[in-house]
């Protein structure tokens, strides 16, 4: 599914947060957004998901205008936001229940993904009983189950330690072979963006503007241009 973010602007109390931001996510493409802290990345995802309306601009999904309407794209926030009151399986089926699917059916559907998402055997555990990586995978599965064609991921691995984070990045890269979706992925971590994404957008400090774009597929495998791309992005960011 194609996602087009067209000239989105947003201000709060007369201070601009987003300044004419345009991003295109092609079908099954993985697009990463890099930007300094507080520049407005989460605000952009909130707008794409329909939680808040933009001041200007449009959100097109598969050519259709979804500006300011929720319920179309999957959105995973910075924290895992699993309900402490439900075990992992019942957390993951929440989007299916909200769509009106019966509980037993929803559990069956969700459970068929558990092995691939590395959650097998932990169905009955409460979120508090699991490690951070596992919680993130559960949150990712829940996100995926809501809408599998467009995912918005807001720094999903930020709360993990470096080694676990690395494992999760590799896992996400691998799983995309079997579960291809259009992904808009926000991160601070340049390595993460370069490992995972097909294309990278770099935002300026607030108000967020697109200041750099990079086609990662073109340089993948080439260690030298990878390193110089990384340095380039680092300079833009700091």
């Amino acid at each position: 599914m194609e996602l087009e973010i067209q000239d989105i602007s947003k201000s709060l109390d007369r201070i601009y947060t987003l300044d004419k931001v345009s991003i295109q996510v092609k079908d099954q493409e993985f697009v990463a957004v890099l930007g300094p802290s507080g520049c407005g990345k989460s605000t952009l995802l909130n707008i794409v998901s329909g939680l808040i309306p933009p001041d200007q601009g449009r959100i097109l999904i598969g050519g259709e205008d979804w500006t300011g309407r929720t319920g179309r794209v999957s959105y995973m926030q910075q924290n895992d936001l699993l309900l402490p009151s439900r075990n992992i399986l019942d957390n993951v089926i929440v989007p299916l229940l909200l769509k009106g699917i019966k509980k037993n059916r929803a559990r069956d559907v969700a459970h068929s993904f558990f092995a691939d998402f590395g959650l097998e055997g932990f169905e009955g555990y409460y979120p508090d009983q699991l490690s951070g990586g596992m919680r993130q995978r559960a949150a990712l599965l829940r996100t995926y189950l809501f809408a599998s064609d467009i995912l918005l991921l807001d720094e999903p691995f930020v709360s993990l330690d470096a080694i676990t984070r690395r494992k999760m990045q590799l896992w996400l890269r691998d799983i995309r072979i079997n579960y291809p979706s259009s992904v808009l992925f926000v991160t601070h971590d340049i390595d993460e963006a370069l490992i995972l994404a097909d294309r990278v957008y770099v935002f300026s400090a607030r108000p967020a503007r697109v200041i750099y774009q990079l086609d990662v597929t073109a340089i993948r495998g080439d260690e030298h241009s990878y390193n110089s791309a990384k340095l380039e992005i680092l300079n833009k960011l700091m």
């Binding site: 998901s49 439900r86 929440v94 909200l98």
Partner: protein, 257 residues
């Protein structure tokens, strides 16, 4: 080693309790205090046993009032919080008054209740509600307020209705805080019913205690106090049991008071 040390610590409060009783018993015997000043705990226990049937009858009445008031408080608290949630402006308008209402002296109100509502169940239940409603409502409100707004945003982004958000997110996540308030209310509910009866009644522990006092039977009064304490503790334990059953995800880290 570890285990036995644990048992020792668990027994400590009981030891202190027994110690207190012993000191009391000794004091009464040594100074041979008359019954109508301070009866010995042994005497209180004896009285409690010998007047068991009578105490039981009155206890049932009081318990009934307390439970009714308690239940009403829970229902009212839920209604209030539901409407607060629906109409934030209502909350703005009523919340400060709720807090101020706590400064009204209960006993005065209880007296006026008998004048306005007579002798039936109503004034007693009202006193219980006055005591129990506030902690429950406040803890419920705090519980709801404590829900991560991002969690609600997530559910909104999935197109969940207000009702679904309430039943799947806000209500379950507020439960631990709610039970904290419930425990406080359970502690005081019996006492509140007794105060209600104190203001005038035909039965119940409050009635019975007044009667005993005017008959110069301090041992009977203390026996009734004993029942009130035990009953209150029982209610608290019941609330804790309910919490254990209804909030399984918090079993490992229950906060005791």
């Amino acid at each position: 080693m570890r285990k036995s040390a644990n048992i020792g610590l668990r027994l400590a409060p009981w030891l202190v309790f027994v110690l207190l009783l012993t000191v009391w018993e000794m004091a009464v015997r040594i100074w041979s205090l008359p019954l109508w000043i301070l009866p010995a705990p042994s005497r209180v226990l004896q009285t409690a046993i010998s007047s068991f049937h009578l105490l039981l009858d009155h206890t049932m009445v009081t318990l009934g009032e307390a439970m009714l008031g308690f239940t009403c408080s829970v229902v009212l608290a839920f209604l209030l919080v539901f409407f607060f949630n629906l109409l934030p402006c209502l909350r703005q308008a009523l919340y400060p008054l709720l807090v101020i209402s706590q400064t009204i002296p209960l006993i005065t109100l209880a007296v006026l209740f008998t004048i306005w509502f007579g002798w039936g169940l109503l004034p007693k239940v009202l006193v219980v509600i006055l005591v129990c409603f506030f902690p429950i409502a406040i803890s419920l409100i705090r519980g709801i307020d404590g829900v991560d707004p991002e969690m609600i945003d997530l559910f909104r982004s999935m197109g969940a209705s207000r009702l679904k958000i309430w039943t799947m997110v806000q209500f379950p996540l507020a439960l631990p805080s709610f039970f904290a308030g419930l425990r406080i209310s359970a502690t005081y509910s019996i006492m509140a019913a007794v105060i209600g009866e104190w203001m005038g009644a035909q039965q119940g522990l409050g009635f019975y205690m007044t009667l005993l006092q005017k008959n110069f039977a301090v041992d009977g009064v203390l026996a009734a106090v004993l029942i009130i304490c035990l009953l209150s503790l029982l209610l608290v334990k019941l609330v804790e049991l309910a919490e254990y059953l209804l909030v399984p995800w918090q079993r490992t880290n229950t906060i005791h008071y």
